[in-house]
Structure formats: structure tokens, C-alpha cells
Symmetry: D2
Subunit: 135 residues, 4 copies
């Protein structure tokens, strides 16, 4: 398994009138988590797109356990739990500053060849970077 | 079962550089769907809040089947599949103008008493409006 | 001068913990206003992009006079105050249900030829649709 | 004058199908800029709200000079150009990694007493932190 953590502050824009972070905002936090996880593997998502590979989200499951609030310094731990094939599965755990688990989630994304608009296998460069974590 | 449909156009802001509606945007579409479903029942969500009942989202499951694009006129069909207790479950189906099913989702929300910050039963007014659909 | 009005409801996502519509959300409302103004002229913005013309925003000025709130039914009146050249200027007035003026704004957008990435004149089709309003 | 710089990466969610950062997103970047500027003065915005002072935006002027793109590491330099009274004026300059100035903006915010919902003078604690920069 490969895991990576990244932290960021809740923006005022991301809260709603209940005073909580809006539930739809978390999708952005998961995006930040997986983008930074890929960067730390040496394979930025932007480079993948430049090589003609898109990675749209196929499905998402989220459980909201506790609210997050304005200006909270949140940490998202992003995990890749199995070697990707034509799909890649990310699991997310979001913690607040008291290290309480506030949200758990998972997403499946599909590697798409932009030229053909068809699914394809994960880029070799990504597999090579990941394989050491799955022995 | 109670179902309701509402339609809206995709905003430029809601797309991403892949040209698709950003996956996190759909949470707003589901919100629009359930808010309009409650309004059509004669019990606007805003009134519920004015009566001291909050309704945060507890969990969400989404399957993205096909992309949506800028300026698409989308329709979300929102269904309440069982009588609410302390929780209410909504199911969503999003269609494009060709009436293709592009996204399916479900969310669970919890009725919270704002004064005590504790879960509570669904408001009587909502149950009375819904009961005719569950005979 | 050409003016057009369109209405929409404030989403929960668009509010912030102050209970107001977040100030950055209005840019989306102005976008909805100008897109519907162009559609009512018979020249949808999407068609302009399909013809290879992009229309990025060059500048924006906003004055926030009164707050807007969750579930408000807002109306934006969008005006084109002069015939466009390589630029088009839109003025916006946002009203709440009590027809109070809550926000005034203006934006300048530039017509860009996607092939050359250079400014270009407004499409003839748009000018033809507009000219009758500027006699 | 007091100035402060803070940096962040462009999220995929913040781009649009033109491939640029959506023009409405910048309001969030300005928010991040002024919040971090206040934090660096030792007076976090959250504490101001806890003391019963709200700070809604009254007006905003933005000039978009160059586009920003996905994954760009942007820097916003936020300046307070005069001692606040019942209003506070922030100026913003956003730079890309090549240190090109891509966006310039300014906002005026008004100090509001939450209890009375009336304008009030800037908190003493903020004025004390700022006065050394305006001699």
C-alpha cells in the first residue's frame, strides 16, 4: 500500500450557512490528496495529461463522520491500496487538528487514452513508481 | 416512493479543463434535486431550518456513468424511497437532454435539533406530506 | 441598449458561514446572466465556442449593496450597453424577491480566436443580432 | 503599507473548459491572501469573528491580465495600503511561477458588529498590529 498526507486550511468559501464545510467541497479535498500523492511518487497528474492520459472519476463513496469548520487545518491521508490496472482506487481519511477522523472516502478513476477516448492501462511510469509498495 | 424532477443548465464554472462537469459539482446538483423535491411536498428546506431542524449529509455514494458538458440542460430525478426516521435517504438519477442516464447517486441525511445538536425524528409536517406515497 | 433578465435560486453550496451568499459566487451569477442574454439574442455562447471564438473575462467591478440569502429567488438583469468591438461590456444588476437592488457589477470580455490565440472582432452573427438595439 | 505573500496550487476544480482558472475562483484566492495577511499580523480572521466582528466584502475590482492554469503554483501578494477605519482596503497581485503578474485586484470590506448588525470601527487589536507599518 502507498500512503501520503497533505494539509490545507478550510476557506471561508468552502463553508455553508450551517457553519460546516459544505459536503460537496470534500471532492476537492480528495482531489488535492490524490494529486499530491501522485506528485510525491514523482509522477505529477499534469504530466500524465500532457502524455495524453485522462483520469476521470468513475465512482465515489463518502462517509461524513464529524463536521469541519472555517480555518481548520485539515489533513488528508490518501492511500493507493492495490496496483492500478485500467482503474485506480484511492482511499481517503480526513483528519482535523485534534487528529479526529472526520471523513472517510474512496474513489475509482479510469485511465482514458485521450486520442481514442477509450480506457487503457495505467502508464508504465506510474506502475514502476508504485510496484515497490506492493511486494 | 416519492419522486420529483427538476432541470437546470450546466454553468461554465462547473466544468473543468477536461471539458466535463467537475465530479464534485454533482453534490450541488443533488442538493438542488432534494431541495426542490421537498419544496414540491410543501415543506421547503428553508422552513425546516427556521423551525430549528438542520439536515447535514451523513454519507454519499455516486456512480459517474457518462460525462456532462457545458450548457447541457440536465434533469435530476430525486426519490425518497422509504419513510424517514432520524435519517432520510435520497436517491438521484441525472439525465442529459438525450435522456441518457449519466449519474446515479444516493445520500443519507440526519435530522439534527439545532438547540441540542442531537439527532431527532423527522418533522411531523414532513411525515404527513410523505405518508400518502408509502401505502 | 440590450437588456435581459433571468432568475435562479440561491443554493446552499453558495452560502458561507456568515449566512450570506459568498462574494465569489456572484461571478457565477453574472455568467448565468450573460449566457442567457446571449441565448435570448439567438446566439448561444456554446455555439460561439464551437465556431472557434473564446470569450475570457478581462476585468470585473462589483459593488455588494445588500446580502443575499439561502433559497432566495434572485433575478439578474444583464445589459449590453454598447456595440461590441474586440471587447464586449456587460452590466449586471441583481435583485432579490422584494425587487431590492442587492449587487451591481460590470465585466469586460475579449473575443479571442482560438486558432491564433489573438484578439479578434465580435462575430458578425452577434453584431447583426445586436445592431437593432443600438439605433 | 503592510504586505504579505502566500502561495498555493491551482486545483482541477478551479479550472474551466477553456483550460484557464475560472474568473470567479480568484475571489477565493483573494480571500486566502487577506486571511493569511491578517494571520501574519497575529490577528486571525477567525478570532475577529469570535469577538463578534464580521467583515463582509463591500466592493471588488479585478483585472485579469494573463490566464492561470491547472497545477500552477500561484503567489498572491496582499497589501493593506492605509490604516482601516470602518472599512479596510486590500490590494492583491497574483503571480505565476515565472513571477509574471497575472491578476491585480482590490477589495473593500466593512467591519460589522454582529450584535447590532451595524458598521463599527476596526478592532483595536488590529489597529495596534498595523500602526507600525504606517508611520
Amino acid at each position: 500500500m502507498y500512503s501520503h498526507e497533505t494539509s490545507f486550511r478550510v476557506r471561508y468559501a468552502e463553508t455553508d450557512r450551517m457553519g460546516y464545510v459544505y459536503y460537496g467541497t470534500y471532492a476537492q479535498y480528495f482531489e488535492v490528496g490524490r494529486v499530491e500523492a501522485l506528485r510525491s511518487l514523482g509522477f505529477p497528474y499534469r504530466r500524465m495529461e500532457e502524455q495524453g492520459v485522462l483520469l476521470p472519476v468513475h465512482d465515489m463513496q463518502v462517509e461524513f463522520r464529524k463536521p469541519a469548520f472555517y480555518d481548520d487545518l485539515l489533513t488528508v491521508r490518501t492511500s493507493i491500496v492495490e496496483l492500478p490496472s485500467v482503474r485506480i482506487r484511492f482511499a481517503y481519511a480526513v483528519f482535523n487538528e485534534a487528529r479526529e477522523l472526520i471523513t472517510e472516502a474512496a474513489t475509482t478513476l479510469v485511465f482514458i487514452d485521450r486520442a481514442t477516448n477509450r480506457p487503457r492501462r495505467a502508464p508504465e511510469e506510474l506502475l514502476r513508481a508504485l510496484v515497490q509498495f506492493f511486494k
